[in-house]
Amino acid sequence: MDFLLDGFVQAFTLLWRQDPAVFSAIGTTVRVSTASVLLSLLLGIPAGFVLGYAEFPGKRSLRTLVDTLLSLPTVFIGLLVYAFVSRRGPLGELGLLFTLPAIVIGQTILALPVITALTAAAVEALDRRLRPTLTALGADGRQILLTTVREAHFGILTAAVTAYGRVMTEVGISMMVGGNIKWHTRTITTAIALETGKGEFATGIALGLVLLAIALGVNFSLSLLKRRWQA
C-alpha cells in the first residue's frame, strides 16, 4: 500500500509545482470538454424541446432511440469518428485525425443524447398548466417556446452538467481519435491510462484528483446557481 501513499504525496507535489505535462493535459481536457458540451447544448436543447413538447408520428420510437444512445459506448463512437476522419474516410481530406477537433466531434456525439434526452424529460415534466397560462396571458408561439425553455432551465442545467461529466471522464474517443499525443491531444483520462500502464501512479493520481476537483467545482457552481434562482 506504500506505493499508493507515495503516489498521493508525489501527486500533490506535481500539482503544487504546476508540472507542465500535467497542466497541459488538464488544459486540453477543459478545452475539448467545454467545446463539445457547448456544441451539444446548441444542438441538443432545440432537439430535446421538440422531443419533449411537440406531438408527432414516431415520437415514441425516436424517444426510445435517444434513450438508447445514452448508453452508446465511447469506443464505438471513437471507431465511427475514426472511420470518418481517417485518410480513407469521407472527411479524410480535412486532416482531423489525431487533432482536438476530432475529439470535440466524438465527444459532441457522446453528449448530444444526454442533453437531448434530459432536456426532453425536463420539458415533459413541466406543469401541464404552463402552456394554457402563457396562451391566456397573450404569448405567441416564439414567446411560449422561450418561456418554456426558461421554465425548464433547472433540468437543462442538470443536463449540461451531466453531459460535462460524461465527456470529461471518457477515454475511448480521446484515445482513438486524439491519439494521446503529449502536449497536443493528451487529456486527463488518456494520460491516466498511459501513466498507470507505465507504473507512474503519482501522475495518474494527480490527474485523477484534478478530475475530481473539476467535477466538484462544476456541481458546486450548479448548486449555487440553483439556490440563487430559487431565492
Binding site: 398548466r129 394554457p132 397573450g138 404569448a139 430559487q230
Partner: protein, 337 residues
C-alpha cells in the same frame, strides 16, 4: 348582432373521440356577465376554454365578435384572458409574473405602475412584488394570477372556478376584483363557479350545464340517484332523518333529477296542499340586483337546495340564515336527465 360577443350553434367538443360538450345554442352579449353552473365534469371548463379561444370545437359554428374561429386574428385573441381553476405561476417573482402579459405585448412604459395597480385590486401591496412563486399561499397565488390578467385589462375576463380552493378572504377579494374589471373598463365576465350566491349577485344570466349540455333550469338543483322504485309506480329517494323525495317514475333508467329554483317554494309552516315537502334550514341568502330577486339556499339533511324568491314573497317570510323552513315543489315540475 353588433352587441353579440359570442354566438355558438350546434357546437360539440370531444376528447379522444368521446363527446364532452354539446351546445345547441348560446349567445353572449358584449359587456354582460354570464355564470356557468353545474356539477363537476359537466363541461364548464371545456366550454370556457373554447370561449377563451384556447381550444377548437370538434364541430359546429363558433363566432367571436361576429367572426368565425379561423378569421380571428392574434390581436383579437389577446382581448380574451382566462384564469384557470388552479393557477400556474412562472418560476419568477410576483412582479415578473404580473408583468409577463404586458411584456409579451411589447409594453415597455409604465409597467411598474400597472403591476402595482393590479396587485392592489386583489388586495396585495407592493411588498409582495419581490416574493417568489413558491413563497405564496394558495389564495395569494390565485390573486397574483388574477392580477396578471387584470393588468392586461382584457375585454373578456373568463374565470374558471376562481374561488374553489381559496380562503374566504381571498374569495372575497377575487369577487371584488372581478366586479371592478366590469365597472372600470366594461369587461365581459364569464364565470364558472359552484358559489351560486356569487353567480346570482354578479351575473345577469346563469347557464346550467349537465353532462355537456345546457339545461334550462337556472341554477338547477341536481338530485342524483339511486332512486328506489315503489309499488305505486313512483320512485323515491331517502334523505337522512326519515325524509323522502317521491316523484312520478321517469321513462327508462334515468337517475338524475333537476329542479328549477324558481319552481320551488318556501313557507314557515308545512303546506297543506299536496306535493313534495321537506323540512330544512336556511343556509344563506343572496340578492340578485338585476331582477331584485332573492336566492335562498336551504339545507335539507345535508342536501343543499336553491330557491328563487320574488322580493314580496321573501319579505313576507322575513327569512334569516338558520331559520327553519319548509321547502315544497310539484313533483311534476322536475326535469329527468
Amino acid at each position: 348582432m353588433a352587441d353579440e360577443l359570442y354566438r355558438l350553434k350546434n357546437l360539440t367538443a370531444a376528447y379522444d373521440g368521446k363527446p364532452v360538450l354539446r351546445i345547441g345554442s348560446l349567445v353572449i352579449e358584449h359587456g354582460s356577465a354570464v355564470g356557468f353552473a353545474g356539477p363537476n365534469g359537466s363541461g364548464k371548463s371545456t366550454l370556457l376554454r373554447i370561449l377563451a379561444l384556447m381550444e377548437k370545437p370538434a364541430a359546429g359554428a363558433f363566432r367571436f365578435r361576429g367572426m368565425p374561429l379561423q378569421e380571428i386574428s392574434f390581436s383579437q385573441r389577446r382581448r380574451v384572458s382566462l384564469l384557470l381553476q388552479e393557477p400556474y405561476l412562472l418560476k419568477r417573482s410576483v412582479f415578473e409574473n404580473v408583468a409577463y402579459g404586458l411584456k409579451v405585448r411589447g409594453v415597455r412604459r409604465d409597467i411598474a405602475r400597472r403591476v402595482l395597480e393590479s396587485l392592489s385590486w386583489v388586495g396585495l401591496d407592493a411588498d409582495f412584488c419581490r416574493r417568489r412563486w413558491h413563497q405564496l399561499s394558495g389564495g395569494e397565488a390565485q390573486r397574483v394570477a388574477l392580477a396578471a390578467r387584470l393588468a392586461l385589462k382584457p375585454e373578456v375576463l373568463i374565470l374558471d372556478e376562481p374561488t374553489a380552493s381559496v380562503d374566504a378572504h381571498s374569495a372575497y377579494l377575487i369577487r371584488e376584483a372581478a366586479a371592478r374589471a366590469r365597472r372600470m373598463w366594461g369587461a365581459s365576465l364569464l364565470i364558472a363557479s359552484h358559489n351560486h350566491q356569487w353567480l346570482e349577485e354578479v351575473c345577469e344570466r346563469v347557464v346550467f350545464l349537465f353532462q355537456g349540455r345546457i339545461v334550462d333550469a337556472g341554477l338547477g338543483n341536481v338530485i342524483f340517484g339511486p332512486w328506489k322504485r315503489r309499488n305505486d309506480g313512483r320512485v323515491e329517494k331517502s334523505l337522512a332523518a326519515d325524509q323522502k323525495i317521491v316523484l312520478p317514475a321517469p321513462s327508462g333508467r334515468r337517475q338524475v333529477v333537476i329542479i328549477d329554483p324558481a319552481r320551488m317554494r318556501l313557507s314557515a309552516d308545512r303546506p297543506l296542499s299536496g306535493g313534495t315537502c321537506l323540512a330544512g334550514t336556511v343556509l344563506s341568502i343572496a340578492h340578485r340586483p338585476h331582477t331584485d330577486a332573492f336566492l335562498v339556499t336551504v339545507s335539507v339533511d345535508g342536501h343543499h337546495f336553491n330557491v328563487r324568491m320574488a322580493p314580496t314573497a321573501f319579505r313576507r317570510l322575513s327569512l334569516w340564515p338558520s331559520d327553519p323552513v319548509y321547502l315544497s315543489f310539484d313533483p311534476h315540475d322536475v326535469h329527468w336527465l
